[in-house]
């Protein structure tokens, strides 16, 4: 298939029917092997063993769809002659695009922020949309937190959800055993998560990029398995229920005397609590963003970015890479801890089910899709991802399949994410956006 495509294109982009025919025949054969095997035959549990269900029709349709799809691609996208330059867009247009982005980018952020603030009071906003907004903001916050580790420091963390879990369980357990309130537990959860970030981070931080990724994945799984099996303490698979809801700085959201509605002279409505949760997560997320932006200007933030670009150069300049990595890990973990305790108080119920590897992959996908290191990219990616999940709610089964496919295709289409240009931290005289080709990203040696 590879050779066929290349020779077909080398012929000057003209239609070479025999090449296309050969290509499609190979595609059909491959499709038959891939889908003919697993879609056409399905094993079903039957009495006395397994029986086979035959579904030749659906397999045929899938194979046909693949062949037709490839034909369309061959006739349209892949027809252009392959020169040395693989990009679709000419250089001048790319520059104009970057320029356009820079201009709209200035207005874009305040508009998004304004929209986020007035969103709960818009006429069309109902309970469902508010819940969706809270969910999206939770992922924005997690994405921003992970962005510190992955985007700024260039350390690929596949176990980020572990710190989210630590935060959630810290609040749930502190509230259950000591009756502490949300506002005391929130910082405690962040501190505990950061503490765990240091404990888990310390031994592994001298590993190179992909080894580090796998070890963080292992740690994430270890924490989940421990939560699942430590029945006496964490409730195991049953989880913890009845986690106290947050109060408005001490004033509970309840009907009647002394409640939030009563205190402010409003009519009681259950939506008050949701709106409060919405603003709570909005503020938490904005704090994350603010801290990240400020940290980027501090020596430590500069060190993170230097580390991402070149660890060896970093070391030769006398930077202590271990402590730089640890602070990145701990800061990222702390924000995950905050988000986790918010998650616990919003849900009122947590179990290890919520903290699987898929969750880590989702957060990572948001960061990568947004463009590593880009703060606004994370917002766009969260809206796209979580919104996309909602759109495919009907097709519940196919949701994860589409998610995985999207992850692969986005990586191939735009390996550097949607917002690939990067604002330099330091600049001489004039501020210029650094184009994607100029920056090494996520090397993490």
């Amino acid at each position: 298939m590879a050779e066929a495509t290349q020779t077909g294109a080398a012929a000057g982009g003209g239609l070479d029917l025999s090449e296309i025919g050969k290509d499609l025949a190979i595609t059909a054969l491959l499709g038959a092997a891939l889908f003919g095997s697993t879609i056409a035959f399905k094993t079903e549990t039957a009495t006395g063993g397994l029986s086979l269900v035959l579904r030749f029709e659906s397999a045929f349709f899938v194979i046909a769809a693949v062949v037709v799809g490839r034909l369309i691609l061959l006739l349209t996208v892949w027809r252009r002659p392959t020169g040395g330059d693989r990009t679709f867009v000419p250089q001048a247009l790319q520059l104009r695009y970057a320029d356009f982005l820079a201009k709209t980018g200035k207005a874009f952020v305040p508009i998004v922020l304004l929209f986020a603030v007035v969103f709960p009071f818009l006429p069309f906003t109902d309970r469902y949309l508010l819940d969706l907004g809270i969910l999206i903001l939770t992922y924005v916050m997690l994405g921003w937190g992970l962005n510190i580790v992955v985007g700024l420091a260039g350390l690929l963390d596949l176990g980020y959800v572990a710190f989210y879990a630590v935060g959630a369980y810290s609040y749930a357990l502190l509230a259950q055993y000591f009756g502490l309130s949300f506002w005391i537990c929130l910082p405690l959860a962040g501190i505990l998560a950061a503490f765990w970030g240091i404990i888990l981070g310390f031994p592994v931080l001298r590993l190179r990029g992909d080894y580090l990724a796998i070890v963080t994945l292992a740690f994430g799984e270890i924490i989940r398995i421990v939560l699942l099996n430590w029945y006496n303490f964490t409730g195991g698979p049953d989880g913890i229920s009845g986690i106290p809801r947050p109060s408005f700085f001490g004033i509970p959201f309840k009907r009647g005397e002394g409640g939030f509605a009563d205190f402010f002279g409003l009519d009681y409505s259950s939506i008050h609590r949701i709106i409060f949760l919405y603003f709570l997560i909005l503020i938490l997320a904005l704090i994350t963003n603010f801290v990240t932006i400020r940290l980027r200007r501090l020596p430590i933030g500069r060190a993170w970015e230097a580390l991402r670009e070149d660890e060896i150069a970093c070391r030769s300049l006398g930077l202590n890479t271990t402590s730089i990595k640890l602070t990145a890990f701990a800061t990222g973990a702390m924000f995950a801890g905050f988000a986790g305790s918010f998650f616990a108080t919003r849900q009122g119920f947590i179990s290890p089910e919520s903290f699987t590897f898929i969750e880590s992959a989702l957060i990572l996908a948001i960061v990568v899709l947004g463009g590593m290191g880009s703060q606004i990219g994370v917002v766009i990616a969260s809206v796209a991802m979580i919104g996309g999940f909602e759109i495919f709610r009907e097709a519940e089964q196919y949701r994860m399949l589409i998610f995985g496919l999207a992850m692969v295709m986005i990586m191939i289409w735009r390996p550097r994410g949607l917002i690939a240009t990067r604002e330099p931290s330091i600049f001489l005289k004039e501020k210029k956006a650094v184009s994607a080709d100029m920056v090494a990203q996520g090397e993490g040696h």
């Binding site: 549990t45 992909d210 080894y211 796998i214």
Partner: protein, 311 residues
């Protein structure tokens, strides 16, 4: 003592399966320096295809020995061929376009592919656990002891003998391929220096594809063995088995074939003995901690060469 010997046998069997999967990781990592995160899921696909073919030919324990052997060879061939197609396609579609991109890009697509494969099998084959009646039964008693606590028997089942034999045979064959054939030479050349290899007329892309195909074929064998040994599979088995096999590959020294096998055996033994003497619930924790410990204290593995960082 008898208990320990029995666990040793079980551990070696499990370790053989891990070793077969680990070879795929080690070869791919050796040649292009990426963790093929979806490799565990290729193993799972192999197990499912084996199950489909076994059901299709109606293989059961009641068949005569000759029929069982013939059918199993057929099953093995089908599973190896189709899994290889999966491996080839995934390399072609998801990894090759990213060659030369930044280092973590293929790892992220690999995670995507892994999610796709799991959910594809979940949708096409159903989410429920698939049970398979045991096909190869019987075994041999090696040790027997009778005391006041009753009788204790150490057994090695025919299935375990089959798994260990197949693993040893395949290991030998593949080591010979790597050591003696021109394909193996090309692979070793690409492993050392891809650019130089391509200058010397080696088709690097094809060599990498072949590596993926070989890895996938071995994973399919492991899938069949797993299916026959445990008798239950589901769409999720690839994840944990994949991480453990990767641990095995790292422990043995990434890029080294005998290392992968050795690592597989060690991981299999650790997991079995941990389950036998400590706790079954935390056996995955043991394997995952092993991964961390190995990477931290022995990153070059038992039989690997230390990696030199070039500026």
């Amino acid at each position: 003592m008898e208990y320990f010997v029995q666990q040793l046998i079980n551990g070696v069997t499990l370790g053989s399966i891990y070793g077969l999967i680990a070879i795929g990781y080690t070869m791919v990592y050796g040649i292009i320096g990426m963790i093929n995160f979806a490799h565990g899921d290729i193993f799972m696909v192999g197990a499912f295809i084996s199950l489909i073919v076994i059901t299709a030919v109606g293989l059961a324990a009641s068949s005569s020995l000759f029929v069982i052997i013939l059918a199993l060879i057929l099953v093995l061939a089908c599973a190896m061929v189709i899994s290889s197609v999966f491996g080839w396609t995934l390399e072609r579609l998801a990894y090759r376009p990213l060659r030369g991109s930044f280092r973590l890009a293929p790892l992220i697509t690999a995670i995507g592919v892994s999610i796709v494969l799991q959910n594809y099998i979940q949708i096409s084959q159903g989410a429920r656990v698939k049970p398979l009646q045991p096909i190869i039964s019987g075994g041999h008693t090696i040790m027997r002891r009778v005391d006041e606590n009753g009788e204790f028997v150490v057994q090695i089942s025919n299935m375990q003998i089959l798994i260990i034999t197949v693993t040893v045979v395949l290991m030998t064959v593949f080591s010979l391929i790597i050591a003696k054939t021109s394909l193996g030479r090309a692979q070793r050349a690409c492993e050392q220096d891809r650019k130089m290899a391509s200058l010397l007329g080696i088709n690097v892309d094809r060599t990498i594809s072949t590596t993926f195909v070989m890895g996938a074929a071995l994973a399919a064998v492991a899938g069949l063995m797993y299916l026959l040994y445990y008798g239950v599979i589901d769409f999720y088995i690839g994840f944990v088995a994949g991480v453990k096999a990767f641990t095995a590959a790292v422990l043995g020294g990434i890029g080294s074939l005998p290392g992968a096998m050795l690592g597989g055996l060690v991981i299999g033994l650790i997991e079995t003995l941990w389950s036998a003497y400590f706790s079954v619930e935390y056996k995955d924790v043991a394997a995952f901690s092993m991964l961390a410990i190995v990477l931290i204290f022995l990153p070059q593995g038992l039989l690997g060469k230390p990696e030199v960082e070039k500026v």
